[in-house]
């Protein structure tokens, strides 16, 4: 008993000491935003030198806007849930990253964002951001945030090692031409025949490699745009008709082809357990024909990643989907006390290259050096690293300084590709999914269940096709389709 007592008292003492320490650090760690500060939430791990960088940035911001900037980093793993709580609790913040994490549309319907439509023209932000980006961000005619401009029109591509292509004597351009010019189902079949030929030759020449990765559906994805759930629309067509994935001849054809490829051993046979994500260079190098997305300036990265120079077949013309530009945005907080200043700041960060590059790369000499060509070399472990590569977290990526191994014209070419890309007919169409919430959840469950069969071709199509169609129908896929079609027709009438 006395032993227990001793242990207990020691534990108690330890507990009291630790809680005291915690209380002290807790108090010291609290910094309340004063009324003269713009609070900006971004995702990521807080860089050690953030304060120094912010001080430097504020030398530019304060004279222009009359307010200071305070950036608050939240790690990406919890960014979405923390921002949801912040918005639901109506905490006052001025700016926040919205996009592929902390989705914009959800934030709008939660009431977490401020309607800045009127400020945009007042401040002149619309002169800075091209029209189609703003159009993408419009929900029921109102805008709550602006896209951080970056590449939004990447086409799907397949690539292989140059030496392998030469060995089997295959010209990737034939596939590219067939895919890009495909207009109807016969064209798609002709293009698929070329894929068949390529895969077979590759399989014969390099039986030690997986022939391809089914990350993208090569027969469907270059030609369809996903609306929501399993509902799609054709990209290069005048038809505004929405349809369910497996209910078209191409959809069914692609499933059969995938199964054929899987049976021939082109796809790794444990694909349903490992999934499509290829994470390491070692893994990439075990695949012969790699499907991925393409953007200007990609080649040197690919050479490093795949271990050899690549030949490409780009499978579709650059295309801006309905939600492409919504992947990276900065929005204004619903309870912001300074919405106008926040919009002014958005204009500043998207136009002032000096300010933008301070936020992206830090302080010259301390965190990075500029080479003779004006390209950045990061100083390792300087306390402000790996931020600028993801400049789209903060604003227009095309204003960011380039890294040493990036070509001078990378941004110019990317911007050109974006601006010249085909724009989705659905830009600005934001479906209201309130009436089909349950159906969406059910369909997503069914789709998950059949994911391996549908996306990787692991099982003969005839054995699951009818069952899948039946389950999707019961889950309410047609109600979703009809509702989306109705809303889309109304949108088109306006």
């Amino acid at each position: 008993m006395s032993k227990i007592k001793k242990i207990l008292s020691v534990l108690m003492c330890a507990a009291i000491v630790v809680s005291l320490a915690a209380g002290l650090t807790g108090c010291a760690g609290k910094n309340k935003a004063d009324s003269n500060t713009l609070v900006w939430y971004v995702f990521g791990d807080k860089p050690a030198d953030l304060d120094a960088v912010l001080a430097k940035a504020n030398e530019i911001i304060e004279p222009q806007i009359g307010m200071k900037l305070d950036m608050r980093y939240i790690d990406s793993a919890s960014y979405t849930s923390k921002m949801k709580n912040i918005m639901a609790a109506h905490e006052a913040y001025d700016l926040a990253f919205t996009g592929y994490i902390n989705p914009y549309q959800e934030a709008v319907s939660l009431g977490g964002l401020y309607d800045i439509t009127d400020y945009i023209s007042e401040v002149g932000l619309d002169e800075v951001i091209p029209e189609f980006y703003l159009q993408s961000a419009t929900v029921d005619g109102r805008i709550y945030g602006i896209p951080n401009i970056q590449v939004v029109s990447n086409p799907i591509t397949i690539s292989m090692d140059k030496s392998l292509a030469e060995e089997i004597g295959f010209d990737m351009k034939t596939i590219e031409n067939a895919a890009i010019n495909a207009e109807n189902f016969d064209d798609i079949k002709a293009y698929t025949a070329l894929l068949d030929d390529l895969f077979e030759r590759v399989h014969k020449a390099r039986p030690d490699l997986y022939v391809m990765n089914p990350t993208y559906n090569l027969i469907r994805d270059p030609f369809y745009e996903q609306v929501i759930s399993e509902v799609y629309i054709r990209r290069n067509s005048d038809s505004n008709e929405m349809f369910v994935d497996m209910e078209t001849e191409e959809g069914k054809y692609s499933a059969e082809k995938l199964n054929e490829w899987f049976n021939k051993g082109y796809i790794r046979n444990d694909i349903s357990s490992v999934g499509t994500a290829v994470t390491s260079n070692d893994e990439w190098r075990k695949i012969a024909v790699r499907s991925n997305t393409w953007k200007p300036g990609q080649e040197p990265y690919d050479t490093e990643r795949y271990g050899e120079e690549q030949v490409y077949a780009i499978l579709n013309k650059p295309y801006v989907g309905r939600t492409s530009a919504l992947a990276t945005m900065t929005s204004v907080g619903a309870d912001s006390k300074h919405p106008k200043e926040a919009v002014e700041f958005l204009k500043l960060i998207n136009t002032n290259k000096e300010l933008f590059n301070i936020i992206c790369w830090g302080i010259e000499g301390t965190h990075y050096t500029l080479g003779e060509t004006g390209h950045v070399t990061e100083i390792a472990d300087s306390g402000y690293n790996s931020m600028g590569q993801n400049a789209w977290r903060f604003g227009n990526q095309f204003n960011a300084l380039l890294l040493e191994d990036q070509a001078d014209d990378t941004w110019k070419l990317t911007e050109k590709m974006n601006n010249e890309a085909i724009k989705s007919k659905m830009l600005g169409f934001v479906p209201n999914t309130d009436s089909i919430t349950n159906e969406l959840a059910n369909v997503s469950n069914v789709a998950d269940e059949y994911k391996a069969k549908r996306q990787f071709g692991t099982v003969a199509v005839s054995s699951w096709e009818a069952e899948y169609a039946d389950k999707l129908d019961k889950a309410g896929i047609h109600k979703i389709r009809d509702e989306l079609q109705k809303q889309y027709d109304e949108f088109l009438d306006k």
Partner: protein, 292 residues
């Protein structure tokens, strides 16, 4: 009769041996994967015995141990504080409730019971904790909300009720105050239930990642499990949204083996703690079911 008993014994032993294997096997795989060569793992999948044994994953984890050590410290601190204060406070609520003489006992019981059935939900809780009490980004947020669990209070109350009233009365006659009775008689007699609750509290706090997910943005205050969750989640987010720029980062992302090694490192202490409590644990588990 004897033979029958033997057969039952054999069946029971086989059953529990199988159950044991079911539990241990995944853990063995985890340990083995953490000791494998990443390229090998990719090539031939998981094996029970790693061949060759490769410590590179642990070297990676322990090369820059500040963050893990920090998370260890934080997690250990709030787990111990919650365990000590939680058990003490819950015992101090449960004991009076177990005495028949307490006036308003039913009201207090109902008050506790009510919170078991109804909770305010995430957002109101968040508003109270973060906006009113400003507990976010402090160690207190791990400790104070949920320090008292009505479930454990009722478990203790049932146990205390089983202690004969006569002992308390005789102590009173000897001149003991209520505090003396509680600390010198009731607590020592209740070691099984206290140890059980302490273990439960410790384990649930040790495995707590949700609190950090909601309230902690300061990386120095991450709990251990959240740190692991964050590493895995960061990789997932990179994977799902891989642009070429991010892809260049992906090559540096911890591999499968590193994640396994981290899981082993994080699971360690909880495994060691368990045997110390086991003596009381078996007895404590029957608390509430057997009266007496």
């Amino acid at each position: 009769m004897k033979k029958e008993k033997k057969i039952t014994q054999i069946i029971l032993c086989t059953f529990f041996a199988l159950l044991c294997a079911l539990v241990i096997f995944p853990f063995l795989l985890l340990v083995s994967a953490s000791l494998s060569n990443p390229a090998q793992l990719l090539e031939s999948g998981y094996k029970v015995i790693p061949n060759p044994v490769d410590f590179s994953a642990y070297a990676y984890v322990l090369k820059n141990p500040t963050q893990i050590l920090n998370a260890y410290g934080v997690t250990f601190a709030f787990s111990v504080i919650s365990m000590v204060f939680g058990v003490l406070l819950m015992a101090m609520i449960a004991y009076p409730l177990s005495r028949r003489g307490l006036r308003g006992r039913n009201v207090i019981n109902f008050y506790l019971y009510f919170t078991m059935l109804f909770s305010g939900g995430l957002v109101p809780t968040y508003i109270i904790v973060a906006s009113v009490l400003h507990l976010n980004n402090t160690l207190w947020v791990y400790i104070l909300p949920g320090l008292i669990s009505p479930w454990y209070v009722f478990m203790m109350r049932t146990f205390f009720a089983g202690i004969p009233e006569a002992i308390v009365e005789s102590a009173k006659i000897d001149g003991a105050s209520e505090y003396t009775i509680f600390f010198r008689i009731i607590i020592p007699l209740s070691k099984p239930v206290l140890a059980t609750v302490a273990l439960f509290v410790f384990l649930s706090k040790w495995n707590d990642w949700n609190t950090a997910l909601i309230y902690i943005t300061d990386s120095k205050l991450y709990s251990l499990q959240y740190l692991l969750q964050k590493i895995v989640e960061d990789i997932n987010i990179l994977k799902e949204n891989a642009t070429a720029a991010q892809m260049s980062d992906l090559a540096k992302v911890p591999t499968e083996t590193v994640r396994m090694a981290m899981a082993v490192v994080a699971a360690g202490p909880a495994l060691i703690v368990f045997p110390f409590f086991q003596k009381y644990f078996v007895k404590g588990l029957t608390v509430g079911s057997v009266k007496g």
